[in-house]
């Protein structure tokens, strides 16, 4: 026999599941609108980088203080999810603290551990809010963070704080009910963190306490399910995408630019060399990227993996010296644009032009500071490069001095205007050894 509350719970879980699945499919479809790129090789090396960088948060520790606070939230998230499992089982079975009878004394240890983590999450989120809004850490106040991105960041922290407070309130009310021997409230033993809140509830009637405890239970589980759906629309998606994103990250030397094979075939034909497999040149859609769909699926996955921490922008030499370029903005723009395309909107627009300007991409020194800084191995540089390719090869719209440099290489085989016959003149100054 299913009770009313179980039925309501089931409906809520199914609804959340529906919206979550729909959104995940949408994101997957959007990512797959990107161009093909083969990253199926070297699976053990990929697994290793995923374990070190996503699971182990290796690159976060370049900045120890936020890394430690972030680690608390991350471990809290992972471990407290075990408690959510109990919540779901309780909700579906109509039990209360399903695991308590099975785990005996260990249940108390586990619950206390969860509470300590909940407190850790709570404190970290408060410090993060202070860093964003009071201390105004520079990377959180750049122009691309105005409006929704700043709000998104704050909302996530506030939701996490509320969820943690509620779980502690629930445990406090629960403990008072246990001490009064109210039916259905198993003895959990002392829970040391929520214990602090008990004096607030000591004089409440048992009926009111049950309402508070049940209210907190429902608030927490519905809150978590709603948060899960919210996450898929926010920058917070990195909690899941950090894993595939690091798995599929670039394993080559950072300095290597991937070869454009479509160009190779054409160049070989021009030079009168046999093309690969003697095949006719394949139909080339467009050189480089004008729009988000011209980028590889990996760049689009990166766009969804970005949590807008701004370490890339903070390390970017162009941004530091006041240029318009911000690698974070490039990644955020890519996500906004692919979202727009996914919705079938903005057909007259394109990523380059309407979102990102030539001035921005022309400021890049390809120094790889941004790719080095990213804690989840996002590569803004490859997005910038694809756009430079589009401008150079499809529009011949590179800056005039670059066009002159191209011309010099073509005619003098050097980027400067020197006669190729003078190339070896330096050797005149070499002293003959005695």
């Amino acid at each position: 026999m299913i009770g009313l509350s179980q039925l309501v719970f089931l409906v809520i879980v199914i609804t959340a599941g529906y919206f979550l699945t729909k959104r995940i499919k949408e994101i997957r479809r959007n990512i797959l609108m990107g161009k093909p790129l083969d990253r199926s090789d070297k699976s053990s090396e990929r697994l290793k980088s995923m374990i070190l960088i996503a699971f182990g948060q290796k690159k976060m520790f370049k900045k120890p203080i936020p890394a430690f606070l972030h680690l608390l939230i991350y471990v809290g998230f992972l471990v407290i999810n075990l408690e959510v499992l109990e919540f779901v089982i309780d909700g579906l079975t109509g039990e209360h603290r399903f695991f308590a009878p099975y785990l005996g004394d260990f249940y108390n240890v586990a619950m206390n551990f969860f509470e300590i983590l909940a407190l850790g999450v709570l404190i970290s989120c408060i410090i993060f809010l202070i860093r964003r809004n009071v201390l105004k850490v520079e990377r959180f106040t750049k122009p691309e963070m105005k409006g929704w991105p700043a709000m998104d960041g704050n909302l996530i922290l506030i939701i996490e704080i509320v969820l943690m407070v509620v779980i502690l309130k629930m445990n406090a009310a629960d403990q008072v009910l246990q001490s009064r021997g109210v039916e259905g409230y198993y003895e959990t033993g002392t829970l040391y963190i929520s214990n602090v809140l008990i004096p607030i509830y000591q004089n409440f009637s048992s009926t009111l306490l049950i309402t508070i405890e049940r209210g907190a239970w429902w608030f927490h589980i519905v809150g978590i399910l709603a948060f899960a759906v919210y996450v898929t629309y926010s920058k917070h998606l990195h909690i899941f995408l950090a894993f595939p994103n690091t798995y599929y990250s670039n394993l080559e030397s950072k300095g290597k630019i991937a070869n454009m094979d479509s160009v190779t075939n054409e160049v070989k034909l021009m030079l009168g060399m046999p093309a690969e497999n003697g095949a006719a040149p394949e139909e080339v859609g467009r050189f480089g990227a004008k729009d988000a769909t011209d980028l590889s699926w990996k760049s689009l996955m990166e766009a969804y993996s970005c949590t807008e921490c701004g370490r890339c922008t903070a390390e970017c030499p162009a941004n530091q010296t006041g240029k318009l370029l911000s690698p974070r903005k490039v990644v955020m723009d890519t996500r906004d644009r692919i979202e727009e395309i996914g919705k079938g909107q903005g057909r007259e627009k394109s990523l380059l032009g309407d979102y990102i300007t030539n001035e921005e991409i022309n400021a890049c020194t390809s120094c790889n500071a941004c790719t080095e800084a990213c804690p989840v191995n996002i590569d803004p540089l490859s997005i910038i490069l694809e756009m430079k390719r589009y401008v150079a090869m499809e529009e011949s719209g590179s800056p005039a001095s670059w066009n002159a440099m191209f011309a010099n290489i073509e005619t003098n085989f050097a980027p400067w205007k020197f006669a190729p016959t003078d190339r070896f003149n330096w050797a005149d100054d070499v002293k003959q050894k005695d």
Partner: protein
Amino acid sequence: MLNKKTKMMRAVPTMAELAAQGKSPEILFWVGCAGSFDDRYKRVTVAFSEILLSLNIDFAVLGQEEACTGDPARRAGNEFLFQMQAMANIQVLNGYEVKKIVTACPHCFNTIKNEYPDLGGNYEVIHHTQFLQQLIDGGMLKVDGGEFKGKKITYHDSCYLGRANDVYEAPRELLKSLDADLVEMKRCRTNGLCCGAGGGQMFKDAEKGKKEINIERTEEALDTGAKVIASGCPFCMTMLSDGVKNKEKEGEVVVKDLAEIISESMK
């Protein structure tokens, strides 16, 4: 001194000359465009060549057969031009059956090492600072700190050597072998700040901003109190030298390539 008119008697052998004698050297010294044409960097090319000659290293250069690797074109987005250059160079290199290449330019180093293999050019490529370190480690090259002993020197990481290819130690080891007082800038190694010239920026004016990148970097180098700024890249050399001039410190602080520093310290 060589008479400039007697070009036949150049001390540096070319691949073509050796091939005519049926010989092929152990290693090719890839000079690069800056090393060939830039007045300041030509001195680095000369210094490095003189080290190689004095140690009887079996090497040669391509001379007039060398051409731009295509790096600035590729990074500015012109993939066609890059591949034209790359394929032409690979034809020449493979024609001479080159196995090993040393270069004093991190951009050439990165391109030939990482990008030429995709187009059929497979060589062992090392940067001149790595080569010099190997020579010291192997006992072939003996140095004496001389004027650099105990002197404050800072080393500027070239992006294309450092982050791009994880070469951080060789240049520093060279300075340590001179017993120099190596002082690091605030941003160094993986966090090193670009000189501002990468990605084709060398060949255009910077975009609008509040400061030039090379000034930002030079200030950081000057803050260390070092009297020598060591570098291993022709573009960094230009950017930092300009920065030092801009700060009117050229009387006190010099920017030198590691090959020059080693050349001046040879026993």
